[in-house]
C-alpha cells in the first residue's frame, strides 16, 4: 500500500495535467511558457520553461498548501517517517533558519556546536537567539572537527537548563556522525527540542547500513538537503518535523522569509526525487557506497593520501561514519587540500566539492560513472608524482575555541568601526569570516578576534582558500564593535 502511494508525484502530475489543458496564460511569469523569451527557452529547453508557472488553484500554493503540494508534502513526510515535511525553495539555509526560529524567540538559548554552517548563525542574527557553543571534538591526526561528545552536551545542558533546543550537525561535511540517539534522549529528558542539520544526510533515510537519521531517533526537526544526495534541483530542500512541533506555527515561521512565488521547477524536482528515493533509494545508495568504497581503496593504494572511513569510529565524537562520503586527507603529500582542489580543476578539469587546509571532499553520487572515478584516482596519483612536497609543509591548526562576548544579533547591529583586519586583534567582530566552501565560520559576529585567529585567516588566504563573510569583499578590512570589552 505504502509502496503504491509513493509511486505518485502529485505536483508533477498536476503540472502535466495543466500543460495538457493548454490554458491561455494571462498571469505571471511574463515569459509565457518561454514564448516571450526565446533565447532563454533555447538555452534551458522549452519543456523547462513550460513548467515554470505561477501558483494557482490546480497547482496549489506553497505558502498555504491545500491540494497537490499538500499531498506531495504528506508523501514526503511518509517517505521520511516524519509528522510533516515542508517543501523548501530557498535552500537548506532556509530550513535551518526556520528550525531555529521555530524553536527560539529572541533571548532564548540554543545549544549548538561551533562548527555549524553559516546559515545557523545567521538564524541567530535574525531571531536574537543566544548560542551556547559546545566545542566539537577534533581528530588529533586529521585535524577535522568531529561530532559533539555526549558528556560535553550534557554539561552544556546542565549549565543552561533554560535552553530551548539543541542543534546537531549530522553528519558533518566530512561524513562524521554524532551519537544522535543519546543526544536526542538527553535533550528530551531536559525538555529541549532537538534540531538536526541533516544537510548532508538525505540518504540516511533510504540506504541500508548507513548512519541513523534524525527522524528515526525521535528528533523534533531536521533540515534535509534534497539537492545534495537526494538528486533534486539546487536550492530545493525539505524541512521535517516530528513529535509536538506545530505544523501551523512552523509554516508561519517559514512564511516570514519565504517567497510567495515558489518555483514549480524546484517543487516538482523535490516531488520527483522523493518518489525516486522512496522507490529506488536502497539500490541507489548501495551503488553510491560501493563507488565511494572502491575509490577510497584505490586512493589509499596511491600512498600519501588518506581516504578515511569507519576505522575512525570512537564511540562518541565519531559515533558513526557515512561511507558514501569521499573525504581525503592530503597533508602527507605535502599539499593543502585547497591546493589539490585547485590543481584538480586547473590542470585536470576535475571539479570536487571542496578543499580545506588538510582535506578534500569529492562528492560521489548515483550520477557518477566508473570511468570518472578512475580519472579522479589517476589525477590524484599524478598530482602526487608531479607536485608532492615535504609532508611537514602543511600545518593543521588546532581548533580555536571562540571567545563569545556578545550574541550574534547584538554584535551584528551594534555601533561598529572598520579596521584593517591585521590590526583587529583584541576587538569584537561584528561579522563573519569563513572559507567557502565549506562555509563554517572561522569568526562569527560577537566573537573576540585573537592573533591565533588572524594567523589562521592569513594562512588560509595564503593557501588559496576563498574567504568570504565581511562587508569588505577583499577581506582586507573587518567591522568590529566600537565598544572594547575586556
Amino acid at each position: 500500500m505504502t509502496h503504491l502511494l509513493q509511486q505518485k508525484a502529485p505536483i508533477m502530475e498536476a503540472l502535466n495535467q495543466y500543460k495538457s489543458m493548454r490554458v491561455v496564460p494571462f498571469d505571471v511569469p511574463g515569459h509565457k511558457r518561454g514564448r516571450g523569451n526565446p533565447e532563454l527557452a533555447a538555452f534551458l529547453g522549452e519543456q523547462c520553461l513550460s513548467m515554470d508557472v505561477n501558483s494557482m488553484k490546480p497547482l496549489d500554493n506553497l505558502c498555504h498548501p491545500v491540494s497537490v503540494i499538500k499531498e506531495a508534502e504528506e508523501l514526503a513526510a511518509q517517505a521520511f517517517n516524519a509528522k510533516h515535511a515542508f517543501f523548501m525553495v530557498n535552500g537548506t539555509t532556509s530550513a535551518v533558519q526556520a528550525m531555529i526560529m521555530t524553536a527560539c524567540k529572541a533571548g532564548d538559548k540554543i545549544i549548538m556546536p561551533r562548527n555549524v554552517h553559516r546559515s545557523a548563525i545567521n538564524a541567530l542574527i535574525l531571531s536574537g537567539a543566544v548560542p551556547v557553543y559546545v566545542n566539537p571534538g577534533v581528530h588529533s591526526e586529521l585535524g577535522i572537527a568531529l561530532g559533539m561528545a555526549v558528556k560535553d552536551v550534557e554539561q552544556a545542558i546542565l549549565e543552561n537548563t533554560d535552553a530551548k533546543a539543541i542543534l546537531i550537525n549530522n553528519p558533518t561535511y566530512y561524513g562524521i556522525c554524532s551519537n544522535l540517539q543519546a543526544l536526542t534522549d538527553l535533550a528530551h529528558q531536559h525538555d529541549m527540542l532537538v534540531l538536526v542539520d541533516e544537510a548532508h544526510g538525505t540518504h540516511f533515510y533510504f540506504g541500508d547500513n548507513l548512519p541513523t537519521s534524525a527522524m528515526s531517533v525521535g528528533a523534533d526537526m531536521a533540515s534535509v538537503s534534497m539537492h545534495k544526495s537526494g538528486g533534486s534541483l539546487t536550492q530545493s530542500s525539505f524541512l521535517l518535523i516530528n513529535n509536538d512541533v506545530s505544523e501551523g506555527y512552523t509554516r508561519q515561521i517559514i512564511n516570514l522569509t519565504q517567497t510567495t512565488s515558489g518555483s514549480y521547477l524546484l517543487l516538482s524536482s523535490l516531488d520527483i526525487s522523493r518518489r525516486s528515493l522512496a522507490l529506488n533509494g536502497k539500490d541507489i545508495f548501495k551503488k553510491v557506497a560501493e563507488m565511494a568504497h572502491y575509490t577510497r581503496t584505490e586512493i589509499n593504494k596511491i600512498g600519501g593520501y588518506y581516504a578515511y572511513s569507519k576505522e575512525l569510529i570512537n564511540g562518541d565524537t565519531i559515533f558513526d561514519f557515512d561511507v558514501t562520503k569521499l573525504s581525503v586527507d592530503t597533508r602527507d603529500v605535502g599539499l593543502a587540500g585547497i591546493e589539490v582542489y585547485d590543481i584538480l580543476r586547473d590542470e585536470y578539469d576535475i571539479q570536487i566539492e571542496f578543499g580545506d587546509i588538510g582535506n578534500i571532499l569529492a562528492y560521489i553520487s548515483v550520477g557518477d560513472r566508473h570511468l570518472d572515478l578512475e580519472r579522479l584516482v589517476a589525477a590524484l596519483a599524478e598530482i602526487k608524482r608531479r607536485y608532492s612536497k615535504d609532508k611537514n609543509s602543511v600545518f593543521i591548526h588546532e581548533y580555536i575555541r571562540p571567545q563569545v562576548a556578545f550574541t550574534p544579533q547584538e554584535a551584528f547591529y551594534a555601533p561598529k568601526q572598520k579596521l584593517p583586519i591585521s590590526e583587529s586583534a583584541g576587538y569584537i567582530s561584528s561579522e563573519f569570516v569563513m572559507c567557502y566552501p565549506p562555509g563554517i565560520p572561522i569568526l562569527a559576529p560577537g566573537e573576540r578576534i585573537t592573533k591565533e585567529i588572524l594567523d589562521f585567516i592569513q594562512y588560509s588566504k595564503d593557501k588559496g582558500c576563498f574567504l568570504t563573510g565581511t562587508e569588505d569583499s577583499d577581506i582586507a578590512n573587518i567591522n568590529v564593535l566600537k565598544e572594547l570589552v575586556e
Binding site: Y348, D349, L371, A378, A379, A381, E382
Partner: protein, 283 residues
C-alpha cells in the same frame, strides 16, 4: 534491397556505405557493437554507430600506428597497447621477432570476442604467446606502472564515451611514468579538419606537450574516417622520429607492408600549414 549505413562525419556531413548484410549487433556494458558486411569495404566494425575498422582500409591505420615507433627504436622489447580491441595493432607488432612482450589492455572484452569471430583479418594474432590480454580500464592499468615499457600505443576510440579517459592529462602523465627513460608514446590523435575532431586533436596535443621533450604529430590517409585525414601523435623521452630513424635497418627486416615505408615515415611528419598552426596555438 537497398540498405545503407550512414555516419555523421560532422553535424552537416554524412558518409554512407552500402550494406550487404548486418552480421552482428550487440550491446556490451560500455557500447553498442555492430559488424556489417559492406559492398566496398568488406566487413566493418562500428562502435556506438561509428566506424572503427574496415577490412579494406585497416592496414593503413594499423601499419602507421606501429611501424613508425618500431623503425625509430628497433630495440623495443616490451610494449603496452591500450584499446585496440580489433587486434590489428597487435598483428603488426607480432611481425617483429625482437619484441618480447605485448600487454594489451582493452576495456571491453566483448569487442575482442566479436572481432575474433567476425574479423579474423585483424584479430588473428591475439593468441601469439607474447601477447597478454587484460580487460580493464586503461587509465587504471597504467596508473600502477612505473618505468616499465619501451613503447605505449594508445589505440583508442574518440574522446567521448568509453575512450574518454584516454584523452586526459592524468592518462598521458601516467603513460610518461610507465615508460622507460627512452620510452615512446604513440596515440590516436584525431583529425585537424572538422571542428569537433580538431578540438580533440588540439586538446590531446596540449596535454602531451606538457610531459614529453619530443612531441610530434604525423598524418595518414584513412578513407573511412571523417575527412579522410587522420593523425597519430609521437611523443618520446629521447628519440626523434626522423633523426633517429635507421631506414636501412628497418628495410633489412623485409617486413611486408602495404602503406608504410621509410619514405612515408619521414614524409608523414610534414604537416599542412593549417595543421601546424593549430598545433602551435596550443604548445
Amino acid at each position: 534491397m537497398n540498405l545503407w549505413y550512414t555516419e555523421n562525419h560532422s553535424p552537416n556531413v554524412r558518409f554512407s556505405l552500402e550494406v550487404e548484410e548486418h552480421l552482428y549487433t550487440g550491446k556490451s556494458d560500455f557500447q553498442k557493437i555492430d559488424i556489417l558486411q559492406t559492398s566496398e569495404f568488406g566487413r566493418v566494425l562500428t562502435l556506438d554507430g561509428l566506424v572503427m575498422c574496415t577490412e579494406k582500409d585497416e592496414f593503413i591505420y594499423h601499419e602507421m600506428i606501429t611501424h613508425v615507433a618500431m623503425a625509430t627504436n628497433p630495440n623495443i622489447k616490451k610494449v603496452l597497447v591500450i584499446g585496440a580491441g580489433d587486434g590489428g595493432t597487435i598483428r603488426e607488432l607480432t611481425a617483429y621477432p625482437t619484441i618480447e612482450q605485448i600487454d594489451m589492455v582493452e576495456i571491453d572484452k566483448m569487442v575482442v570476442d566479436v572481432c575474433r569471430e567476425y574479423l579474423p583479418q585483424t584479430a588473428s594474432k591475439l593468441d601469439d604467446p607474447r601477447v597478454n590480454l587484460y580487460f580493464e580500464d586503461g587509465l587504471k592499468f597504467v596508473r600502477r606502472i612505473e618505468n616499465d615499457y619501451d613503447l605505449i600505443i594508445v589505440d583508442s576510440t574518440d574522446p567521448f564515451g568509453p575512450g574518454e579517459g584516454l584523452f586526459t592529462k592524468e592518462f598521458y602523465g601516467n603513460c610518461y611514468k610507465a615508460l622507460k627513460e627512452d620510452g615512446i608514446l604513440v596515440n590516436q590523435h584525431e583529425s585537424p579538419f572538422y571542428a569537433e575532431d580538431a578540438l580533440g586533436m588540439r586538446k590531446a596535443h596540449q596535454k602531451i606537450v606538457g610531459f614529453f621533450p619530443v612531441c610530434k604529430v604525423y598524418q595518414f590517409h584513412m578513407p573511412t574516417y571523417p575527412s579522410g585525414h587522420w593523425l597519430f601523435g609521437f611523443a618520446s623521452k629521447k628519440f626523434d622520429p626522423i633523426q633517429d630513424l635507421d631506414a636501412a635497418a628497418w628495410n633489412d627486416l623485409e617486413l611486408k607492408t602495404r602503406y608504410y615505408n621509410t619514405d612515408i615515415h619521414v614524409g608523414s611528419f610534414a604537416l599542412p600549414n593549417y595543421v601546424k598552426e593549430q598545433l602551435k596555438d596550443v604548445e
